[in-house]
Symmetry: D3
């Protein structure tokens, strides 16, 4: 149940069309998923968000694409974004995530949530050896 | 400033000593960091937590050790666990994380937080293609 | 799918009726939205919650009504309360929020989420100039 | 206690210097606060973050500067970003926030947190009237 | 709408069957609720999760079963886990939680959320008397 | 490091003095902890917060005082409120919480955090039997 109104004919706005065209070209697919259709209610918001997603996630970098997707998925689980859990689980599978790897991500995420809260509950002081000094 | 009282001489408890010995053996290091010293206020809690951390993080699996550490770090950032951010940043560096990769993790985590909240704010409906069917 | 049972005939309880009457009078509308119908399962919880919402949100104060509603909406997005995102998006529109302003709220909320996590990830020390001293 | 190492002489990197110069020009002040000094460990991350903060927060728009700052502060409180609570409380005061308005922000943020959790606890169904239809 | 694929015939895997049998025996009921059916996509994850839930929640201890369930419910509300809010509200009712007690849990959870955020917003210093010293 | 300025001589304001007097009388102690000293920057905020804390936490009800305190502590851990973790750990100890019970709260809170995220990660559908019907 949406809380904003996506435009009925988004590509009639040339700024929206340019973004959608770039999404299709970058992904080599005709499919535009809902987050982009909804962000199109504001062309500036759409442009900025896609530009950043493309730069961070769709550009070769020092981390491989599957690792990046798994980190994105982990954050989406902790933030409990239903849409994002679905879209990034699907994206990770498309990038080769196996069921065993999916299970492993769930084990790490839920273990981290567990120890994060244990640490916060005890207010454990940071070991001095972990602190990064000035250069 | 701790909220529980860690035991002064933790290894006088043989259950605690056994865990500390296993931490040292598994990590091939004499260093026991504070989270374990604080968890030692309850031997059962210490044993269970270490057993799980060892099984998930210190056992060869379908994800490489650095990837696992980066996922753990991402969750710790989102949960805002100060201790965990420090300990897992240090652990990731020890497993080879470069400054460029650290920056990249921060870009992914903060971008995911951004799009998670955009998606929640618009209550974007999940695309049917993302849904996993029964086998 | 509710997790508590709202009363079938809430206004048969005079305490509930008094709150519903005050909601209708305050808002100059006959519509009672679901949060109040569900809170009615406990008259005390209903009375306290409405009293506070009325005092904070429906009483003239040092912030204008739309600004107050946008802050409420921002919190609801971060807490990922589906019901609240819908009800406060609607309330903000009723108080004059334009689509451009709605987009702007989303930009600020998602940018703040981004920089909040960057700051937490780096554990940035607070600049001394920001600290408030004792009077 | 930082978790990344800020560069000792950040402006020796011309990309960092360009951002710092723009921050000073935009704010008409020589002061560069810590978040920018720490983000300087990665010039790309620094450039992107400042570019977005400048576009969203320092550009005239459909919301007045104080309202925008209060929304940013509200999000920072909910995400419990210590640095951000301090920097955005200070920024809001610099933009004219009175003590009475500060108290009011706290009342709204804490009331919203309260009703968000009441709503989530009861899993209140969204009233159909709140749903936004397709155009 | 699930994001992982639960096995169609989970008990054909003897490890899964052993866990399901133990759930039935421990609870003295034939009903296996969905969380276990979904966790069965990875037998190791299922075994570990059930073993911990059984040890913490289904074993006599220093807190009575209803108190333990109410704490579990409170956490589930704050983490906004829809499934968990439903399953632990039901579990608490099965252990004797009255409607008045349910309302009271909601009052405490929402009040705590309120004062947690007030405290974070003001960055209140911890009173020295609250700090736990070393033994 | 506070983000608001507590009044230097709070009891010179008769509204503040009345609240502080009631705190002392209710708790039968001369000690006023920092949260109240900071809330005193706005008498209305102070009055409302104390009135609610007193009604929910300091009034005999359907849950015993220690159970209520443990629920408050659990929420404070999940919300990562440093001040609140300290003050409510201390309050729970004052109400009789043993070290073993404290460890048990930590086990439940961290286990719940774990299963909450597993459930959200898999987007487990709610079992129909958990849904509460209309009366």
């Amino acid at each position: 149940m949406p809380a904003v109104q996506p435009p009925k004919d988004p590509e009639s706005d040339p700024r929206v069309k340019a973004v959608f065209d770039d999404i299709r070209a970058t992904r080599n697919s005709d499919f535009i998923n809902n987050i982009w259709r909804y962000l199109a209610f504001d062309a500036d918001l759409l442009e900025r968000t896609w530009e950043e997603v493309k730069a961070v996630m769709a550009t070769p970098s020092d981390l491989d694409p599957l690792t990046k997707e798994l980190i994105y998925l982990a954050v989406s689980i902790i933030n409990n974004c239903e849409y994002c859990v679905h879209s990034h689980s699907a994206a990770a599978r498309a990038k080769g995530m196996t069921a065993a790897q999916h299970a492993e991500v769930l084990k790490i995420v839920s273990l981290a949530a567990k120890t994060n809260h244990l640490s916060n509950a005890m207010q454990v002081p940071v070991d001095p050896v972990f602190i990064v000094g000035e250069e």
